[in-house]
Amino acid sequence: MALVELRNVSKIYHLGGEEIRALDDVTLDIDAGEFISIIGPSGSGKSTLMHILGCLDSPSKGTITLDGTMIHNASARQLASIRNQKIGFVFQFFNLLPKLNVLQNVELPMIYSGISGKERKERAMAALKLVDLENRSKHRPMQLSGGQQQRVAIARALVNSPKIVFADEPTGNLDSHTGEAILNLFYKLSKEGRTIALVTHDPEIAAVTPRRIEIRDGKIAKNVDNKLAGLGGTSKFVIKE
């Protein structure tokens, strides 16, 4: 059984009597340990897909199973708990809380899962070590560079040991050099066995991942394994094996 199973998922908005299908009958499996990118132009529905996968939103139709739990009809409270325990988010704009220092930012998800202060600190420091920022734990996010902020955000996403990490345009706000470092970090994390889904509009980034899903008009257009299709080398980003 796959880690994430989407079956005939649709998301339908009604705008002034007009029906807009942001997602139209999407069926998708993501296995544990996969490194996958979801690519598509803006307005294609990739963000909607990520929101539904990330339990931020509920589908209008269809069923979703995450780690064996049905989440398409879960309550807001259950969704919050699933987001907290099983999902990590990395955003384009980092979305760190400016008033908290780096360590407190990383601790935040554990506060909501009720972990004691001592363990929180230990795990947050471990997560920061993973992204090579343990010496910046007392800094404020604003005192860090963009790449460092994104690494803090990644540490925050990983700190509760989620089943899957969603990254929404994680390099979109970074220069290409820093972006490459972030992609390398994701690659490294993927090698360590974590399941990661990158959402992007940039084929160059998508090309980095072994599996690529293309969304167009709310439907899955292609479902291509990059390496099998011989597309692995087309990215301008250099992944250090």
């Binding site: 931020l56 987001r83 325990q85 955003f91 979305n95 909501y112």
Partner: protein, 452 residues
Amino acid sequence: MNLFNSILVGFKEIWAHKFRSLLTMLGIILGVSSLIGMSAITKGMENGMKESLMAMGGVDKAITEEQDVPAYQQDLADSAPGRTMRDVYALKNSASLLRLISPQMALLPAMASRADKRIRPSELVGVWPAALEMDLHVLEHGRFFTDLDEEYANPVCVIGTAIRDELFGDPDEIGTEIIPLGQTINLNGQAFRIIGMFQRYESDVDKKAREYARLHPAKEKTGPKRSKGWGSGRNWAFRRKNLTIYVPLNTMWIRFRSSGTGTNGIPNPKLSDIDIKVKDVENFPEALQQAKNVMMITHNGIEDFGFQTQQGSVENINAAIRNARMSGGIISAISLLVGGIGIMNIMLASITERIREIGIRKAIGASTLAIFLQILVESVVIALIGGVAGVATSFGLVKLLGQLSPTDNTPIVTVASMIFAFLCSAAIGLVAGIFPALKAAKLNPIQALRYE
């Protein structure tokens, strides 16, 4: 998210916007301090009134008074016996619910004199030793009458300090206190020896003022000395009590009354007062009824007497206090309400400012309840800080009000009112926080994350 963390976050938010938070708290500060101030003023009023009440003899006291006989007994009016010692002995033997019976025989007009000084006492009465307790007198110097004084109708008297002040000299003016025990004064032309003197009765305010005046002497005034005269001061109840002269009841009867000051030179055996005190204030009406029954027998069924109690004044005082408390409470409630609206306003502004933060918190797993609590706690923390500051401010406010207050009574800050006001501020914070907290908790995480 535990409570301590929420409170910490609340403090940080407040600290991050010091000035804004201070302005917000101002409403609560004013509300709380005005609540405490109002309650202090009413408490001061209440104390002042109760002091006066006590000076007049306390709540469990009743005074019999002469009354015109009721209409259906008009034909018996001529045989109305009036209140005499017969009633006193009857009450003493039969009215079991009474604790104390004090007959009084007053002399009017009365004049006390010594050498060239004279003073008109508020009362010159013949009493039993029971009067001491009846009128809540405290004998500070000398002794009270004994049975022998009563038996022999000795010409002895016990005086209030105001009598001493007038006849011997006021310690405030001459600097030393004269205790005129053993001295002789004239009461309506007859020589009486002073065997005792009461303590000086005064309200707390006067006492403080007097002590202050002694420590900080005023500048010498020029010009003739003016007497205050009695009744002109504001604390007439105390002044009146200080102007008392007591003599033994028998002395009064033999020396003044039996010689025939009554109608046509016939001695008048009527008492001017029979004061009674009940054993238990709880059964006040029953005890009065019992006393009435006894006296109906001694008066041959002629109802030429009535009872005057202080229950009425107690109710008046309580009503006045209730009114003052009510109006003060309403004013404070309004300012607390305004403070609450201020908090709600600022919390709404604060969550609008932090929509993105709320979105982030939700995305990483904060439940609706956690967000709700966070905002609520912040609101309560603002209110509580305001409450503490208000309690602190109230001390200054009460001082200020003490200077400006129309009553003579010092406002009294009670711990209960401080706790109550503080709890009020907490409740206001809670109520004011609910709406913004609900609004924040209901935010859609996706839209909140996109919010710029």
